[in-house]
């Protein structure tokens, strides 16, 4: 029994890691309806920036997270400026929603992600970076029969804060209002005086800042910071987003947890090499049988 409980807890913490990445990813998709392939690299950049700060100044974790958030937000704005904005040449509805733009930005963000990953690799090498071990978030905490680490609590807390903060920003600030407006109807928002370009930049700032924070947190959690670190969480976040109905952030978070738990639980029955199959199977099943996401509520975006 303890064994199953322990696997469940591991699955939960795995799911929380995916959820952390999925929040920013889903925000950007939900607003713009574009896939940001470079989100995984923003995550990696967050981890490397955090690592540099730790190595150079060794400040408290909170300070690092804030700096990483800021750097991530700037990266996001830059990313938007170079990979997304040029394709919104016209601000009519056809352009904002066109498939051509979606696919062009998918490719442009992919191209930038190659540049970013190769750049990091060139600069730092492709190996795991050595991280001062004292900064790692993996001190075990025993709760009854199961063991968790302090990082689990921090990641849970951060995810919670992000979700709550995001809800607050979206519901109670003017930036949030314009983000929601652009998400619903970019052209309409523009007609009523919302600065679409600035709002989209804000969206990228918020989403990428969150992605970067996820990067450093997960980096510290596993003690593994390396240029290709963004790929797997990126794909899992993607799957979570699709399962959750594409534009629903709480949906994506719940689905991330489901994926994490399923992966850990699957290793009870089969060899862990098949673990990745779980997420992909979920993806395909969702797409084929629940095209609106497993909660069904969200609007279908086709």
């Amino acid at each position: 029994m303890d064994y199953y409980l322990q696997q469940l807890v591991i699955g939960l913490s795995l799911g929380m890691v995916y959820a952390l990445v999925a929040i920013g990813f889903t925000l950007i998709f939900g607003v713009l309806n574009v896939v940001n392939f470079a989100h995984g690299e923003v995550y990696t950049i967050g981890a490397f920036v955090g690592l540099l700060i730790f190595v150079s100044f060794a400040p408290p974790l909170v300070v690092v997270l804030l700096v990483v958030l800021a750097v991530g937000a700037m990266t996001g704005v830059g990313l938007e400026r170079f990979a997304f904005k040029p394709f919104r040449r016209f601000n009519d509805e056809a352009t904002l929603k066109s498939r051509a733009m979606r696919e062009a930005t998918l490719m442009s963000s992919l191209a930038l992600s190659i540049v970013a990953r190769e750049g990091i690799e060139l600069f730092f090498g492709s190996q795991f970076q050595s991280l001062p071990l004292k900064h790692m978030l993996n001190s075990p905490i025993k709760i009854g029969p199961v063991t968790i680490v302090d990082g689990d609590l921090i990641i849970f807390g951060t995810s919670f804060l992000m979700l709550a903060g995001l809800q607050f920003v979206l519901k109670h600030t003017s930036v949030g209002l314009s983000i929601r407006a652009v998400s619903n109807n970019p052209l309409g928002a523009r007609y009523v005086g919302v600065n679409t370009d600035r709002t989209i930049a804000w969206t990228f700032a918020v989403g990428s800042g969150m992605g970067a924070v996820a990067g450093i947190l997960v980096g510290l959690y596993y003690g593994a910071i390396f240029p290709a670190m963004g790929f797997t969480p990126g794909i899992k976040a993607f799957v979570a987003m699709v399962m959750g109905g594409l534009s629903s952030i709480p949906g994506a978070v719940v689905c991330a947890l489901i994926i994490g738990i399923s992966e850990a639980m699957s290793s009870i029955f089969v060899s862990s090499v098949w673990q990745d199959l779980v997420a992909y199977a979920f993806l395909i099943i969702t797409l084929i049988f629940f095209p609106r996401g497993i909660f069904g509520g969200a609007r279908e975006r086709v």
């Binding site: 064994y3 322990q6 696997q7 591991i10 699955g11 795995l14 190769e118 690799e121 060139l122 090498g125 492709s126 190996q127 795991f128 050595s130 991280l131 071990l133 790692m136 993996n138 075990p140 025993k142 063991t147 680490v149 596993y222 003690g223 593994a224 390396f226 290709a228 670190m229 797997t232 992966e263 850990a264 290793s267 009870i268 060899s271 862990s272 090499v273 673990q275 990745d276």
Partner: protein
């Protein structure tokens, strides 16, 4: 509609063809090709090889031999496509008489097909795939395969009193041999393998596997991983308060393992062919040169492997001199006997496999030390 394609193909072919071909001086300079990953996911290994090779070449140049040797490094990115292109390139260059590399077995084997066809001796420092040396008589390797290491470890674990063992290894060609060779011998000795599983390389989270292993409560865990996965595994074992003794192979021998895992690496046992604190002069010379060149800590198993591979090649060249051809170099390589390398004495057997002496080591106080036998 294929017109443009051909014009471009012609254009790029011309562009490549008109590049200046090197002109060779009359003095005997032999060229060796080295294909290795200098970019991509495995670049860290390739860069280490390059450094080690340059140290070996440097020492050779200072030794005042009657001929010069040049090594041509080409980046394969651990990508088969690029590996075979490099192989063709080396084969084309008539002045290249022998080839070192590649890093992964896959790229080494795909390139080996070309070296086989062209008759070019190839010596890989790390290709451990059982089929690699079976490609042809032109393939050599300087790494002890698991056929040797596995049984040795099985005996060690059995002698330590362990009867129930869990085995995990990465899902690669190498990992497969780690498991099969160990398990066969361990069962033959009368031990029991209670758990055996593979994991995908670069897996961040080993906790589900560790929890599973802990449930089966083995006496020890035998692991086939490289240092990065190893560090993750050891850290997460400590995190879950699992204290089963861990044994590993020479592949995890790297100072970085201890840097990454810290105190969690304490106590891990492994077999190795190279220990930097071996007092032998050649080892100490290499370690000193390595530290001076790279500014890093002691070299790990793989750079030492590459250093020896280069020196074995150079020694074979020296024996073949002055009638150096690809064929004569191959024959001299095959004749390598008791070559005194930093990874121990190397002799190639009839299958062009090295026989090496493995030492038993352990992580103690943040460093690898030999275990008295």
């Amino acid at each position: 509609m294929k017109n443009r394609r051909n014009i471009l193909a012609l254009g790029s072919a011309l562009a490549l063809a008109t590049l200046p071909l090197p002109v060779y001086a009359q003095q005997p300079t032999y060229k060796i090709g080295y294909q290795l990953p200098l970019t991509g996911n495995t670049a860290q290994y390739g860069i280490d090889f390059k450094n080690a090779a340059e140290i070996a070449l440097d020492q050779f140049a200072k030794a005042g031999k009657p001929f010069k040797v040049e090594i041509v490094f080409e980046d394969s990115r651990s990508d088969t496509k690029e590996g075979v292109a490099i192989a063709r390139k080396f084969v084309d260059d008539k002045s290249i008489v022998g080839v070192l590399g590649d890093f992964t077995s896959g790229v080494s084997i795909a390139s080996a097909q070309i070296y086989k066809e062209a008759g070019m001796p190839q010596l890989s420092q790390t290709a451990s795939h059982p089929d690699y040396t079976k490609v042809s008589e032109w393939q050599f390797r300087n790494i002890t395969t698991q056929a040797q290491e596995g049984p040795l470890n099985a005996e060690w674990l059995y002698a330590s009193g362990y009867r129930k063992v869990a085995v995990i290894a990465e899902q690669t060609d190498w990992g497969q041999t780690v498991v099969s060779n160990f398990v066969d011998k361990f069962k033959a000795l009368g031990g029991q393998v209670v758990f055996s599983e593979f994991f995908n390389r670069g897996l961040a989270d080993f906790r589900p596997i560790i929890t599973k292993i802990a449930r089966d409560n083995p006496d020890a865990i035998y692991t086939g991983y490289f240092y990065e996965d190893g560090a993750q595994f050891l850290k997460q074992m400590k995190q879950l308060s699992v204290t089963i003794p861990v044994h590993s192979t020479s592949a995890s021998y790297n100072q970085q393992l201890i840097t990454l895992a810290g105190a969690d690496a304490e106590g891990m046992k492994l077999t190795a062919t190279f220990l930097p604190n071996n007092p032998a002069k050649n080892v100490q010379d290499f370690v000193a040169a390595w530290k001076a060149k790279t500014g890093q800590a002691e070299p790990g198993q793989f750079p030492a492997q590459a250093y020896d591979a280069v020196n074995i090649m150079l020694a074979a060249l020296e024996r073949a001199h002055p009638n150096v051809t690809r064929k004569s170099l191959r024959d001299q390589l095959a004749a390598t006997k008791n070559f005194p390398g930093v990874t121990g004495d190397t002799t190639f057997d009839a299958d062009r496999e090295p026989a090496k002496k493995l030492v038993r080591a352990q992580v103690k106080n943040g460093t690898f030390v030999a275990v008295d036998q």
